[in-house]
């Protein structure tokens, strides 16, 4: 039995702009949603749980992560309640819920907190550079190590515990019995979804968006690999240098498309941008762009006279690695992939057939 909690909708409101009270249970959203099946009702079930404030039902559900926000439900809603944005807000709320530090929720709820975090990181980077007397070589060297340690640290301290928390909430808490065999058998799904976002193809009119997104993910991950493990900024190998250029160019050009989409607001999906969305796309854009320019400055031999350029890149990098990756929208990448994996486990164990 679940107790109704009307305060929940006020809490959820802080995670996004949608109108829960407008819903009159017509079910149009479910009728148009390509994810809806007779057992699993998208997105109405989540709308209803949110209206009633059934937190434990929401936190144990994978459904918000299975939605790729095609926006059909929102454009079909006769009451303009914006169920698509509700699903988005639930994802933000869940991110906050999984995060053991509580910083995720804080950053999503409060723009001020986000800005303070960004400013603190920027000041930290500048202070570090000042301590190194703005010596390019040292900064470059430490910057490279920072990248490596940040990736490892963030993953071990923040992301891994959070994923385990997510697993606890969605698999363990609802008492889903999953055999080890199933875990192993389905592991492929995790990586397929992580790298291809295959499921989004199921949403109507999403082919272009999927392709852009796919290219971006591949570009971003390979750029990460190139800079961190192939040490692009110090590389002498022409192939690696060119590879880095291409990858960073892909990252910033594709993000420009996404940013302009959010500005033009033509598609349902890009109509309501929260600060966290802006931080994510702009961060990605600047990261690709600054990496490109930094390498260009290196090749043109003008970076020594323009240390500020690398500092700027490092600030973006630090903000990305310390704020957006562990606590911001980047985590979607991880949680979604795991949600697909966990969903596969549940499907194979026959949870939805009961």
């Amino acid at each position: 039995m679940a107790r109704i909690n009307p305060e929940f909708s006020k809490e959820l409101k802080k995670y996004g702009g949608f109108d829960l009270n407008a819903c009159y249970n017509c079910g149009n959203c479910t009728a148009v949603c390509s994810l809806s099946t007779s057992e699993n009702s998208f997105p109405r079930e989540m709308v209803r749980y949110s209206v009633l404030g059934l937190e434990s039902e929401i936190e144990t559900s994978l459904n918000p992560w299975l939605c790729y926000y095609c926006g059909d439900c929102s454009s079909t809603c006769p009451r303009e309640a914006d169920p698509g944005e509700l699903m988005m807000s639930l994802r933000r709320w869940l991110t906050g819920k999984y995060d053991w530090t509580g910083l995720s929720g804080l950053i999503y709820r409060s723009l001020t907190a986000s800005i303070i975090a960004f400013v603190v990181v920027a000041i930290g980077v500048i202070a570090f550079a000042y301590a190194q007397a703005f010596n390019l070589e040292t900064i470059l060297h430490i910057g490279h190590y920072f990248e490596m340690f940040a990736i490892g640290g963030v993953f071990a301290i923040i992301l891994l515990p959070n994923i385990i928390h997510m697993w606890y909430l969605t698999i363990l808490k609802p008492k889903t019995k999953v055999s080890l065999k199933t875990y192993i058998k389905s592991i492929g799904d995790l990586f397929v979804h992580m790298f291809t976002q295959k499921r989004t193809l199921g949403c109507d009119d999403n082919k272009t968006r999927w392709f852009e997104h796919f290219i971006l993910v591949i570009g971003y991950l390979s750029l990460l690999f190139t800079t961190v493990f192939l040490d692009w900024f110090s590389a002498q190998n022409l192939f690696i240098i060119l590879l880095g250029y291409v990858e960073s160019a892909i990252v910033f050009t594709v993000t420009i498309i996404f940013v302009s989409g959010r500005i033009q607001k033509k598609k349902e999906v890009s109509q309501r941008s929260q600060p966290s969305d802006w931080f994510f796309v702009i961060g990605l854009l600047l990261m690709g762009l600054t990496a490109f320019i930094v390498r260009l400055f290196i090749d043109l031999n003008i970076l020594d006279n323009n240390v500020w350029m690398y500092l700027f890149h490092l600030i973006i990098l630090a903000q990305w690695a310390l704020i957006i990756v562990p606590f911001g929208k980047w985590t979607h990448f991880l949680y979604r992939s795991f949600a697909m994996y966990f969903d596969k486990l549940k499907t194979l164990e026959g949870v939805y057939n009961e």
């Binding site: 039995m1 679940a2 107790r3 109704i4 009307p6 009270n21 407008a22 009159y24 079930e45 009633l52």
Partner: protein, 641 residues
């Protein structure tokens, strides 16, 4: 005078002629005595045939007409009108039904059908031979109307009748006018208060000189019939002559030691034995509730105008018609229905509405501040097992309106509506929308999944399997549970029994025809309006009141009324008064009269409907019926055999 009868046999397209040989019927009767004309026609009711009939009757000076066609329910009036247009008395027209009674039921036996049709027509001819011209009876009508009940419907009807220029007696049983409407604080959808509406209406009444208002008045006896009802009205005294000077009235109320549950507030608080409900209440004079007064004399010490010597008065009124506007009672939940009277914070919708009116800054009940309110809909309406199968119409909207009102007035309130489908029809839908937008939560159940209310420690829990959440079991912790009770007929049906007003299965007063005669009753001259007829909101009550007022006025407006001449005739020489006829009469039209040592039955011809129930029970054959005399019926039977 020699009879000249014309006969028309209808094909009805083929509905009749496919099974009945109409030509053979014509041949069988055209040579009978008194038959002057016999025709078959494709459609007797068609304009061409109607015009032909008018010409035939006029040119041939027919004094009897028979049409053999469909049911008289369909076209008796049509051909009576044709006769009248041709100058023939309409009672000399006779209808034979050879469709519903012959061609349709006997489609498997054409020969038999034709034979039966011939007999039906011959019977009709037998009646036509004897049919006499009749004229309607005209009676005088009193130019006054009694309106029973001074709620919003009664007052609006009285004002309407007064506008049309009729004397109105507005008779209210309670000490104050306004009825249920005065009890509601804010009323949907105009958001006026009931008090405001009633105050405005009675100010209007006071400006009229043709409306007489009686309060604490009850009709205890009545006689007569349409056009001339005689009502005996008992008026109870108020025991107060006029307002005490210098606000001593409040002192008088303060010193009264008696406390009784206040029915105006649906007994959520108490009042004194001397009281009024609110200061400006008409008739601007408080009242002493003599049933509960202990005659301690305290009030007399502070107010000189209290007068215990006042006596009950009896008035006799004469009116042409009666308009009923006696209203409804709110449904009282059964003992422990949803915890009523067992769980301390379970109240009814009317009580909740009074609670909203009586609280100012905080919503309190039983000394506790109320935040979470659960509303259980359809309590006492749409019952699966009980008698009240109907929907009470006003409650969904009223509840939602009250829920919005509570939120607006007291702020921090959560509303939970446990409903069986919301019926805020018409413009009331906007309120449903408004409440949803304000965050009210709607949970739905079907009749087989009623919410459960129980105590958990000192908390009250409402539990339901919500239809809108895939029958998931949900619970709410409620500070107050409001049972949305519907409307039931007045518990005290004294006036209804007195007038012998028929009631429907739902026990509300019944109209003649729900759609076409919505305010008339089978008692001629008695109209019904407002919620005494069935659940209605204020708007609907006023609509029906204005309609009933117009209908009542149409009876008294001309000063005389035409009545159907088809009635019983009693031969007093043959009557030995056994009382069987009076017992059989459903309209109370027969009374015993004693003339010297002879007793006999006398008919009230204005009440008699000519139904014929008295005829077969008379052992001495002393009763006959105009237009359906024993002689006529015997002749028809002879023709049929």
């Amino acid at each position: 005078m020699k009879k000249k009868i014309g006969i028309y046999i209808c094909h009805c397209g083929g509905n009749i002629s496919d099974y009945v040989d109409v030509e053979k019927v014509k041949k069988a009767v055209e040579n009978d005595a008194d038959i002057f004309l016999a025709k078959t026609t494709m459609f007797a009711c068609g304009d061409t045939n109607q015009n032909e009939m008018v010409d035939d009757i006029t040119n041939m000076k027919l004094n009897g007409v028979v049409v053999a066609s469909c049911s008289p329910k369909l076209h008796l009036q049509t051909f009576r009108s044709v006769s009248e247009r041709a100058g023939l008395n309409k009672y000399q027209y006779v209808h034979a039904n050879i469709r519903e009674q012959v061609s349709w039921p006997h489609s498997d036996d054409k020969l038999g059908a034709t034979e039966k049709a011939i007999k039906q027509v011959k019977a009709a001819i037998a009646k036509a031979r004897l049919a006499e011209p009749l004229e309607p009876m005209t009676i005088t009508a009193q130019k006054a109307v009694a309106v029973i009940g001074a709620g919003v419907a009664g007052i609006k009807a009285a004002l309407q009748l007064s506008d049309m220029g009729t004397q109105v007696y507005l008779i209210e049983r309670e000490p104050f006018v306004g009825g249920r409407t005065a009890q509601w604080e804010r009323i949907f959808t105009s958001n006026e208060t009931g008090k405001e509406i009633i105050s405005r209406l009675y100010k209007d009444i006071l400006s009229r000189d043709n409306i007489t208002v009686f309060t604490q008045a009850e009709v205890v006896d009545y006689s007569g019939s349409i056009g001339d009802f005689k009502l005996m009205v008992k008026v109870a005294p108020r025991f107060i002559r006029e307002h005490c000077v210098e606000d001593n009235l409040q002192k008088a109320i303060d010193v009264c030691p008696v406390e009784v549950p206040d029915s105006f507030n649906f007994e959520i608080n108490s009042r004194k034995a001397i009281y009024n409900h609110y200061p400006s209440e008409y008739p601007y004079l408080p009242v002493i509730d003599i049933q509960n007064c202990t005659r301690c004399g305290e009030c007399e010490k502070v107010c000189k105008n209290i007068d215990f010597s006042q006596k009950e008065e009896t008035l006799n009124l004469q009116v042409g018609s009666i308009l009923m506007a006696t209203g409804f009672d709110p449904y009282t939940p059964a003992d422990n229905e949803y915890g009523y009277k067992h769980i301390d914070n379970v109240i009814t919708l009317p009580q909740f509405k009074r609670l909203l009116a009586l609280n100012d800054s905080k919503l309190m009940y039983n000394g506790k501040v109320i935040k979470n309110i659960a509303y259980i809909y359809c309590v006492g309406s749409r019952q699966v097992n009980g008698d009240n199968k109907y929907c009470s119409r006003y409650c969904c909207t009223s509840t939602i309106h009250a829920a919005i009102h509570a939120k607006e007035k007291f702020g921090n309130i959560n509303n939970y509506h446990f409903n069986r489908g919301i019926r805020t029809y018409g413009k009331q839908e906007l309120l449903y929308d408004e409440s949803s937008r304000m965050g009210d939560i709607y949970l739905q159940f079907f009749e087989d999944g009623e919410p459960q209310i129980y105590k958990e420690g000192n908390k009250t829990i409402v539990k339901v399997k919500d239809v809108l959440t895939k029958y998931k079991e949900l619970e709410v912790e409620a500070d107050l549970v409001v049972l949305v009770t519907g409307m039931v007929p007045r518990k005290d049906n004294a006036i209804g029994s007195l007038l012998k007003l028929p009631r429907g299965r739902d026990k509300f007063f019944n109209e003649i025809h729900m759609k076409l005669r919505p305010v008339e009753t089978v008692i001629d001259g008695v109209a019904i309006s407002g919620a005494c007829q069935g659940p209605k909101n204020v708007t609907e009550s006023v609509n029906s009141a204005l309609s009933a007022a117009t209908k009542s006025f149409s009876i008294v407006s001309k000063g005389e009324i035409d009545l159907e001449p088809v009635i019983a005739i009693i031969d007093k020489d043959n009557c030995t008064w056994c009382g069987a006829c009076a017992e059989a009469c459903p309209y109370d039209a027969i009374q015993k009269t004693v003339d010297g040592d002879k007793s006999y039955a006398v008919l009230n011809s204005t009440v008699c409907k000519g139904c014929g129930m008295c005829l077969p029970v008379c052992p001495s054959d002393a009763i006959d019926l105009t237009a359906y005399s024993n002689h006529e019926i015997e002749n028809m039977i002879d023709a049929l055999l």
